[in-house]
Symmetry: C2
Subunit: 477 residues, 2 copies
């Protein structure tokens, strides 16, 4: 990170965390030079960037102030009592219409779940691919059968160890992306009709997996700051024969929230007490902002009840479809066999290419760059929301990942917005697709991985205009 970037980062963090309040005056350029031992040019550049990010504004002849049009952060809230204990899951056509809209290059993909593909080292990956396949003998085919390429599993195990998570090469199963891993884990521990505790709102893929396996969902509310409501979960476990719990513990999709470390630990202890497997979806865990890495709940799994699933699809190589599960001994064989009888093996060449990149490609350097980009872009997108969305809008402030969860005024029906926006060439992900009971009717998820340009700005203008017209059209207004 360059010096001015560091200053941008520090001040942005202070603003986001509330240390610097809206309207507050920033140190003068002269003062900042002294404080940080920087040249005036560096401070000017940082302030200029912060202005561009919409976080501060210059007041002529007076100085720099924290913007006071900053959008309201979605706060912790008391948990609403759900109407019913469990729900037969049925997901509508919306998810698929979003997916097909993503394929249209004319549509601005704010509703996409995929990271913007230009952010990834595709050329460097191609070199890893060439390097890995050049040396690949015919035996590689057999060696790539489940549990998968040994080098790749070794590299993944090494990363776990660096995070302080115990991981044996033999406990790692390579899969076609994390999604296959999650599906296999869920299938391994359930029977049709079983009850599964999931988050609400949750990743729609989780709802689809439950639907496919004919499982019933118990929705556990997710607090925008603290993550899954553990008291509520405990009360459910006391009453209901829950067979598994599926949770995205870090930078949860769609809300972006991470459970604080001590809550992850409580979650694991709670489930362990009831001997309920935790299927931990951790595909965004590596995309934390700042220096403090996010350990998964798996780190607290002393008894072997956590199946930790992740991938390289959000962090390095979308399209390669390389994911994995780190499995406790008790589930290992079952999950591995399910993998074999579902899709047999994961692409030999993709496995080898990722293994090569992890060894030689500079994955950590790439990740650091990606995290900085996402953090800066989050500020830019918050700024666009503040500028174009209705005043009552509230937004989460994730410390990682690339999703914002936007709570719109109640009169804005997210499904109507979704439809009209799509007609205008903008996709958003409407709240109801993240809920088994189609709740979150006035929420949308925004993907901020696409760098801000005129097209993105125009998309936000369009969304703002549509929201006004929907509000105006609502009965009683």
């Amino acid at each position: 990170m360059k010096r001015y970037e560091k200053l941008v980062h520090d001040i942005a963090t202070a603003i986001r965390s509330g240390v610097l309040a809206p309207g507050e005056k920033l140190p003068s350029v002269r003062q900042a030079c002294l404080n940080h031992k920087l040249s005036p040019a560096t401070v000017f550049r940082a302030y200029y960037e912060l202005e561009n990010l919409g976080l501060i504004r210059a007041q002529p002849k007076s100085g720099y102030y924290v913007s006071n049009h900053a959008i309201k952060q979605l706060a912790s809230k008391t948990t609403p009592v759900p109407e019913q204990a469990s729900t037969v899951v049925s997901i509508s056509d919306m998810v698929f219409s979003i997916l097909s809209s993503i394929k249209d290059p004319e549509t601005v993909p704010l509703g996409s779940a995929f990271p913007w593909p230009d952010l990834f080292p595709l050329a460097r990956l191609s070199r890893s691919l060439a390097h890995a396949t050049r040396d690949m003998g015919p035996a590689a085919i057999v060696e790539s059968l489940p549990p998968g390429n040994h080098d790749l599993r070794r590299q993944i195990a090494r990363r776990y160890l660096m995070q302080g998570v115990e991981a044996d090469v033999d406990n790692i199963l390579i899969t076609n992306g994390a999604f296959e891993a999650l599906n296999l884990c869920l299938e391994a521990v359930t029977q049709p009709g079983d009850l599964v505790a999931i988050e609400s709102p949750t990743f729609h893929g989780c709802l689809q997996a439950l639907e496919r396996l004919q499982l019933k969902a118990v929705e556990i509310p997710v607090d925008p700051v603290l993550g899954m409501d553990l008291d509520y979960l405990e009360s459910v476990l006391e009453k209901c024969p829950v067979r598994a719990c599926w949770s995205m513990t870090s930078f949860q999709n769609p809300m972006g929230v991470s459970m604080p470390a001590e809550r992850k630990q409580v979650l694991v202890e709670l489930l362990t007490r009831y001997r309920i497997p935790l299927i931990e979806d951790d595909v965004y865990g590596e995309l934390y902002f700042g220096m403090q890495e996010h350990r998964p709940a798996k780190a607290y799994d002393s008894e072997g009840y956590v199946m930790h699933c992740s991938s390289f699809s959000k962090t390095l190589a979308p399209g390669y479809r390389i994911g994995w599960a780190l499995l406790p001994k008790r589930f290992e064989r079952k999950v591995e066999r399910l993998k074999v009888i579902t899709s047999l093996s994961t692409s030999t060449i993709a496995q080898a290419a990722i293994a090569d990149f992890l060894q030689h490609g500079g994955y950590d350097r790439h990740l650091r760059r990606l995290r900085t980009k996402f953090e800066l872009q989050q500020h830019q997108y918050l700024h666009l929301i503040a500028r174009y969305f209705p005043a009552e809008t509230q937004v989460t402030r994730p410390h990682g990942g690339y999703f914002l969860w936007v709570d719109l005024p109640e009169r804005v029906d997210a499904l109507v917005l979704f439809q009209r926006a799509l007609e205008q060439g903008v996709s958003v992900a409407p709240g109801p697709i993240f809920s088994a009971r189609h709740q979150c009717c006035n929420c949308i998820r925004i993907n901020y991985s696409k760098p801000v340009d005129a097209e993105v700005e125009q998309a936000f203008k369009t969304l703002g205009r549509l929201m006004s017209s929907i509000e105006a059209a609502a009965p009683g207004h």
Copy 2:
């Protein structure tokens, strides 16, 4: 094919089909030169090869004769009446122990289902991979989402058209190998508890798929010459609420048999009458011997009840995990959505590499070479069986693929043989893994894709020796 190879092929085919009977005298070299307009050197070389293949023998000062130690061909037989109408499927650990034995490079993989990997153009594929990924933009990730890479689907559709099978690019869904395609198709048309008509013996992956989806099997006997018993199938359809039929119509695994074209047509008509979808597993269809290509049952599907599944795993690129399903309109959406919610997408790079190879790599040339190799190796393996296995042994004579189905004397328990052979470093696939009711107790499947060498010859010696000892140990002998 070189001239001498053509002559080898012609005579071998005549011997295999019975046109030239065991003990019969071949034309003299001089006569053959005149008949075929070939030089004596060419005829000598062909006869020499045929001798090496064990198909003919030279009798000093007399001439060449068709070997009379040729093994007995497994003949058509009357269908045994199954004991029960349907079976809850449960597959033992054997399948997985065979799979893990394949990973051991010290074990001769006669029990493997994979083609011997040295037979594939791995270096040329690597070049296609490099070529395809060099030009690959970030948009490729989104373009590879289901139904999959458009160029690849276009190439596949083109091959269908050349075979006389109607196929639209939009009806092709790319999958992680044919096995994923088959699983998705089966899942799309069934509910737990449903009845599915399958072949007996059948590919063990079919049994595993039924087991996973909690489906019940009605086993339809497969005749070693004619394929699935269609009268029996019809009597089952009259009585039972069958929901789907899974069949490998060409070079069936494990028996190697192909249904004659007119029977494929009858099969499709029969199922169409009952509106039962046919899940056609056609992964070996391209591996026919001779010039006459094998059209799939899909070619006769005028009403849209056949889901045709295939892949490049047996013919071009094992390990790349690229398969597909050609779907009738009525099933298309359901299967595509299941793909999305099971594993999302198929590896972008693998799809692009195969598309490139199909366009520039000389796939048909490679296939012709592969077919010739497999046909010659089949003769060699038949010779080894004739030499080392008990005299009562009967074997199928497939006209394609790389499996022989070996019917051993009744006293030889295939499971005992399997265990003992594995201890001696030889794997075979025992009959019971191909049957829901663990029948075929004295049958084994032999993979003949590995070129014959000292190791293979030794493996057959070992198997022969083990069979004698099992026979000797059997009660009453």
